[in-house]
Symmetry: C2
Subunit: 209 residues, 2 copies
DNA sequence: AACTGTGAAATTATTCACAGCT
DNA sequence: AGCTGTGAATAATTTCACAGTT
């Protein structure tokens, strides 16, 4: 079956809903959809792409569905992540408290600024970019976050891929060219603000600020 | 005509492509699509939602299209933005250099941590959250970035809305409940990493890290 | 000749609606 | 009786393909 790509982040949302549902044994697609902000049919359909997890007339067993979703999403394990670019954003992500509870650990960080190399940030030593390949191969890391400038992003990504990385979260405002087998997700902060600007511009009384 | 929401960030991409196209007067949908990473038909269709900007046999006049896109997206002006939550991520966004060139300026910042209030970060004084309404009304600010924890996001958003904000970029990992007239865009870092984990888990040799 | 603008076709995603299980 | 799982229907989005314009 063909699984819509947009279903995956929704599964994450559902998983999050379950975390708050300790009060009862079972939860219905209706209840999940209510909190996740979509339709019940969507919840059932998304889950159905991956199997049959529910019990007719009861709903989904919370703990069981939690485990199933973890397995589907690959969050039933720890993921070590590399970070490249220890600027403001990179440093902030190094100290971001939201990753650990979800099983993500930034295990190493790289930069080519001599003033940053060697520093210990949140228990992670910043290394020279030239050490990337050796380090990532040694650690077997396949997931990376890119927070370098637009100008160096493509070359950094090329290095990451040579180092064995196949999944990249990119904050640099450029379209990265990668082979089909590599997954790149982009978070482009200015584009998000421009989307907001678009909506604001379309509201009636668009006066100032 | 009904404009697909996903067309808007694509327009931002096109606008960005144009910035690098100083070398020639005209650019074709083919060239734009090449760099933006989509099809030429998509480019033409997206633009056609908003008018006729091209010249048959020539393409689009770069400078003119740039202006048209700015007007569509609302980036033909400056936008003042409020930031709530001056933690690691919030501070990083305060110093993020990518906003200014696109016309976005974080004009004020709020937190309820006494150790942060009064601080001057990147020329912005951190204020107590209780001053939000007065400040935002006075400045006429309608766009905000939320980088508080999951627990306080909804109440912060309620305050923002009462203060006149109608467009919100939310980094807190919660589904926010807002009236229809309010635009909320979510950036959920853990969900993005989970998407990556999903793709990684699906590749053959999923051994370690 | 070259490229846009755009209906029509194809594809993808969502919602409906109900049979079937508990 | 209540809720899932799922084909079928609908809606949304993308791609095709070509008439029309310069």
């Amino acid at each position: 079956m063909k699984i819509p790509l947009v279903a995956i982040p929704r599964l994450s949302q559902y998983a999050r809903v379950l975390l708050e549902s300790r009060h009862s044994d079972y939860i219905s697609s209706d209840e999940i959809s209510e909190i996740a902000g979509c339709t019940a049919a969507q919840v059932r359909k998304d889950l159905a792409y991956f199997g049959q997890f529910g019990t007719p007339s009861r709903g989904y067993k919370v703990e069981e569905l939690k485990r199933s979703l973890s397995k589907i999403l690959g969050t039933d394990r720890e993921w070590n992540v590399a970070l490249v670019g220890v600027g403001n954003l990179g440093s902030a992500l190094l100290s971001y408290k939201g990753f650990a509870p979800n099983g993500f650990k930034i295990k190493c960080a790289f930069d080519n600024d001599l003033r940053k190399i060697g520093k210990n940030l949140e228990g992670v030593i910043v290394r020279d970019t030239s050490e990337m390949k050796r380090t990532l191969k040694a650690e077997g890391i396949r997931m990376a976050i890119v927070t370098v400038g637009a100008g160096s992003a493509q070359s950094v990504v090329n290095m990451l891929i040579k180092s064995g990385v196949t999944a990249i979260l990119n904050f640099a405002p450029v379209k990265l060219n990668v082979a089909r087998a590599i997954t790149v997700l982009n978070i482009d902060l200015s584009i998000e603000l421009e989307r907001l600007a678009y909506f604001l511009s379309r509201t009636k009384k668009s006066k100032k600020s």
